[in-house]
């Protein structure tokens, strides 16, 4: 869960300037109370900083994790696309696959991408 959240929060801050629960809820396909609860958990885990009713920010640890996740996500999507898979499917499958790809496998994906 944490990975999906920090990844999305980083993206929202970059593209929208800030990360708001309502946006997160829409993007993840969950309801606002779920986001509230999960953001509290991320805060407890030291990944986000946040005051009630305000926008959400990533801590340094959160940013590091987000960076790793986003990079991995990009590699997985690019790899699937390189197999001729359509963009929508590649995005959807990557969302599920990325959390189970070891460093070894990720490197193999990158090697394959580079050698083409």
């Amino acid at each position: 869960m944490a990975e999906d959240y920090v990844e999305l929060i980083a993206e929202l801050i970059e593209t929208r300037g800030e990360a708001r629960p309502v946006e997160i809820a829409e993007r993840l396909g969950v309801k606002p109370p779920t986001v509230t609860k999960n953001i509290s958990r991320l805060k407890a885990a030291g990944l986000v900083r946040r005051e009630p009713y305000r926008a959400i920010f990533l801590t340094d640890a959160g940013q590091d994790l987000a960076e790793i996740c986003r990079r991995r996500h990009r590699v997985v999507v690019a790899f699937l696309l390189s197999l001729g898979i359509d963009e929508e499917t590649a995005e959807r499958d990557a969302e599920g696959i990325e959390h189970h790809v070891s460093g070894t496998t990720l490197e193999a994906f990158e090697r394959r991408l580079n050698q083409k």
Copy 2:
């Protein structure tokens, strides 16, 4: 969950002659009570047949699902191996990845395997 269980049950029946909770627990890395509970759920879902304290059998629906899962598992592992990933990592990653691979992506994997 169901997929991991029926896949393993099918494999145990094939290699050991029967599927026993203690084996399932070991292979999945969980404790026996967890297996008991999950087997009840599989029974409720119509995937397995079973009397208390006896071995576990797959229903027709369970066998169909197991067949799909095992075939998909084999494809994912073979694909990872074809990328030069070591067997242990391929098995471990496949376990996580296989549940998130769409039909489209699975076909892409197979295409790639066949064209080599």
